[in-house]
Symmetry: D2
Amino acid sequence: MKNTFGNNITITLFGESHGEAIGCVLDGIAPGIEVDEDFIASQMQKRKGMNSISTPRREDDKVRILSGVFEGKTTGTPIALMIENQTQHSKDYSDTKDLARPSHADYTAYCKYHGYQDYRGGGHFSGRITAPLVAAGAICLKALEKKGIAVGTHIASCAGISDRAFGNLAEDIALLKDMEMPVLCDKASAEMISAIESAKNEGDSLGGTLTTAVIGMPEGVGEPWFDTVEGMLSHALFSIPAIKGVEFGLGFGFADKKGSEANDEFHMCDGRVQTKTNNNGGINGGITNGMPIIFSCAVKPTPSIFKQQNTVDFMKKEDAVLNIKGRHDPAIIHRARVVVDSVTAITLCDLLATRFGTDWLGE
Amino acid sequence: MKNTFGNNITITLFGESHGEAIGCVLDGIAPGIEVDEDFIASQMQKRKGMNSISTPRREDDKVRILSGVFEGKTTGTPIALMIENQTQHSKDYSDTKDLARPSHADYTAYCKYHGYQDYRGGGHFSGRITAPLVAAGAICLKALEKKGIAVGTHIASCAGISDRAFGNLAEDIALLKDMEMPVLCDKASAEMISAIESAKNEGDSLGGTLTTAVIGMPEGVGEPWFDTVEGMLSHALFSIPAIKGVEFGLGFGFADKKGSEANDEFHMCDGRVQTKTNNNGGINGGITNGMPIIFSCAVKPTPSIFKQQNTVDFMKKEDAVLNIKGRHDPAIIHRARVVVDSVTAITLCDLLATRFGTDWLGE
Amino acid sequence: MKNTFGNNITITLFGESHGEAIGCVLDGIAPGIEVDEDFIASQMQKRKGMNSISTPRREDDKVRILSGVFEGKTTGTPIALMIENQTQHSKDYSDTKDLARPSHADYTAYCKYHGYQDYRGGGHFSGRITAPLVAAGAICLKALEKKGIAVGTHIASCAGISDRAFGNLAEDIALLKDMEMPVLCDKASAEMISAIESAKNEGDSLGGTLTTAVIGMPEGVGEPWFDTVEGMLSHALFSIPAIKGVEFGLGFGFADKKGSEANDEFHMCDGRVQTKTNNNGGINGGITNGMPIIFSCAVKPTPSIFKQQNTVDFMKKEDAVLNIKGRHDPAIIHRARVVVDSVTAITLCDLLATRFGTDWLGE
Amino acid sequence: MKNTFGNNITITLFGESHGEAIGCVLDGIAPGIEVDEDFIASQMQKRKGMNSISTPRREDDKVRILSGVFEGKTTGTPIALMIENQTQHSKDYSDTKDLARPSHADYTAYCKYHGYQDYRGGGHFSGRITAPLVAAGAICLKALEKKGIAVGTHIASCAGISDRAFGNLAEDIALLKDMEMPVLCDKASAEMISAIESAKNEGDSLGGTLTTAVIGMPEGVGEPWFDTVEGMLSHALFSIPAIKGVEFGLGFGFADKKGSEANDEFHMCDGRVQTKTNNNGGINGGITNGMPIIFSCAVKPTPSIFKQQNTVDFMKKEDAVLNIKGRHDPAIIHRARVVVDSVTAITLCDLLATRFGTDWLGE
């Protein structure tokens, strides 16, 4: 299904970094959901990241709603969102278009598209294509909010610096909402910013890990095989450029635990079935158990660095040396979190629509 | 799409642990591929695990090919595979059917299926349902082998004991093929077995990590968004019960690396574009770059332990105490590796069919 | 998606006419629906047709439910149905296996499967593969019945003989339920049987048209584009071998009508919005309007005739002469109607699950 | 899958008649195919129909290519096409927005979208939404042309007037290409135009039948069950508003034929396997046999007529009388043919990509 994802709610992405426009079609959203254009704009703003540690390419990224919204509410028909591209510095790329930037998709794009790909700024592979995901995600986040479901992501670690763990999830998620740098501990936040600035000054880049919490998900959502909550979320999350690992609950931390340490015992609490611990991250057998969904993503350091690198000219099939120009981020982890929230919201809306029917989200 | 996965090659799973039969339909496989029933049988055998550290439920698991194979070769039409269930000890389950086994799917199955689920032995959620995946995977593994593509998985760690890292991949994959305990280092293997036996004696269980290598994959396979190689593989892998984390290449190890350390520089080698390191696990921008695909899975400890656990009776909505009976594994990691190989093979066949057309695999 | 159809309820078909077994996997059916094995058996019986005008190949066609049903009710997990093949006269086919039977799929199967297809009895293209569709359809028909939705099909015309038009739909659908020859007018029924017998005696075959009515469908089901009710039903119906035309409501009869004659005026009736006429067959803009769904299918004459025919040997690439042996039907229209009912029921269940969620059908 | 269609090549439609813009995303098209913007414009022009017998709403319908095309060629990534809406007379609709126009989708849209639908001009149900289909189809038609595959549609009948049958298909398809009124016989053309003008003067409307021929399709394309050529084409064709019947080859004409009359005998001709007749319309067992694909569509008369009609106010649930205003077509059959060609081209491209792989179309 190439650039379309989802079963009952689908997202179809389009666009190239330096083409006319980028955008998406979000289909299957229930009718009657309020669309908050200010919230969309604020999410777009968050995706741009803090000035000091982000790319100087800073377009207006005005989201134009082409369809599917009427008198401020969703109609139930496809919602097409478009963002015009503005400040392309395409010239930055043409000189080096046949040099494969290490850990970028230039070479694989060439293999797949036989040289017809729009190479400028990474083309269809650019992180810029996450902008429409954020716009669509904003609609989904608001719809989930109405149903009492909230999503929040913080930088759990970056440059060897760890944030504090999630505590009261409702409070932490609220806290994260307006943070430019999504780190719960102020000291860790300052240290991470400083580390990213150092990397920037060195012409280098940093990665990290993001941890996401979702509260308010009803039980019984997801499928036992294939379309498990883990399977669907990871499928979507691995689309985000730079994400190279996804784990749920304890994740890789399970490896050294015994069953007696790792199992989440059930108990009755406030009249509801709950677990005492939540090592499984809210999912048993691929299906939500009513506890918070918790997962983490590994984010690799931005591959665009300003140090000289060895590479190849894939047209000439010979070794080459590359000095990257253009505008790039020393880290994208603080920008990626809003993409993670967005992709999570879209995927959860789809899982919920599959479970409860098309209209549920709008009821 | 519930119990069906894949775009051009699809697998549809069915069955309950203690029902009449379990099986699958594998569709989209090219015509003309030899089907080696002995290899299928040997893979089924591997899934059962070593005697000393596996469940005493040891059915014959004879795979019956109902369709799609004629005169020893695939016909191109759906391949239905069936395994009759034989030695069900269903009585082990009926007494405790309303008690949610911690970290199992009993409670979520109840939430989703409103009490109509076949609770016996985990029903449709049972690890037993991976048997048809292994049978289907055996057909795909052989088809890949013909195209020079090989898949191998070892236990990278278990109980705090680490195997040696992959070295010469072709040799290591060959080595793993006939191992009952898929550990490359003999000493680590003995220690892991001993640790699992100890856990068994304590009525406890262990998890670990599996690392998989795929060699021979052509460049240019996968999609830039959503149906990335990482997205498709993780989607499928998270179906395997107990897998709670998937990472590609360095995965979570990227978090503390700088771009200059993590980037995979390209060079010309033997006339081909290759990378000097393979931190990205053979995938750039969601698409294969011709290097080996490398990924790891976190496997949680088997949730069925013989220690007494607190839980709830989800019908009566009250706290309860559970003592699990039945036949269970103190670890499934050595058994899971053949499931990982199988799921990987099925998914790669699908990605290849999408890239090169239906017939390619049989050519 | 090859041999799988549907969005939220899917059917996956497998099997060859002379292979080990044929069957299907029906997935997405709500939990808690009673499965009536006697009704399944009676539908299978109807598919076999009247003795005097049907093929002498008359297998027992016992449907074995492998999964997804527990204590007489659906569990919500995939329902696998299997029918063993029994009385294969495979020898009838081997002599002529490279001769393309006119209007059969032998040549196209060869083109698609490069000679690896199971040629015996038409293999995967055989009308016999509709048997699992009927078994799955029986489960869906019963589920629809519980929701007040009934489906019935009669032979509208055959050999130039017309049945009377549908009158009181509820009564006519009830009438058709137990008819071996699904013709509402007795005189027309006798004439059609006689015409089919004549064709049989001449070694020839007949086709006809089937008209189907569905009552009780709720309003608002279907999608405006692509997954319209017409699109989904026709997609499924054209799978039935021999169906070469599908029309809704007036269908091709619209061609010579004016808008003022053809439009279905609305009025309030019994407190509900209804149309005065139903020329649109219950569907406006691809979506049900609450009126009965009415459609007709054109069924071509069985291509297996006993008259000598010119053809080619597609392996030798030379002209040839063919005399068909084996057991064949002089008409399949009276047998096809139960397949039409079944395919309709499966498709409507899918459309309803998409509209109202997975559980609706079982509530 | 709501507003997305196709397996390997997908089309996702969006837009409302009086919203900001309408458009589509065409995904899966091979890289390297020339995109001829003049041809797209000429197809858009054809969709508008002849002045004298078409709606006076005549927007510029300039197609803007937002992505997926670089330096005049497809890149292999999603092609987003957008058409801004311009001359909306939305006021024509607001007065009567709760009155269900007979045989239109107003009432079913209300049922499905609970009153949140954009009612203006039929919203997402408007025939205007076929404009992006025509734009996407133009790209596919040109791609097919490069592979020697041509598609042409004529009005076989309208108002009781029949066009001559297809003769030399290559010549007839070429002839149709530039016709404003796609009728092969000049006399029939004049009579049809005159009949449509009469209907217009009466405030009434006409339907008809369209017959389509496709030449040059390779053998072996399509699937035996569900994704048959007939199933896929009909699924797509029934999306076109006003199409209520689809038949292949003889279609409903098969009903009165005997097998001996209807079967298409094979013979060797010019070294190729061909059939002597083509009653099956180029498809056997759901798969192309190398003969021309022939099918016909029934087009109902435009439901917007200017005669007073009885209807209901679906909000007040009471009977009402409707006098339609606005700009409407007395017939859309001459405009629909380019939509049929487009939808056919998109669907065939998808079937070909499934059969021969993604790249085939661009090779």
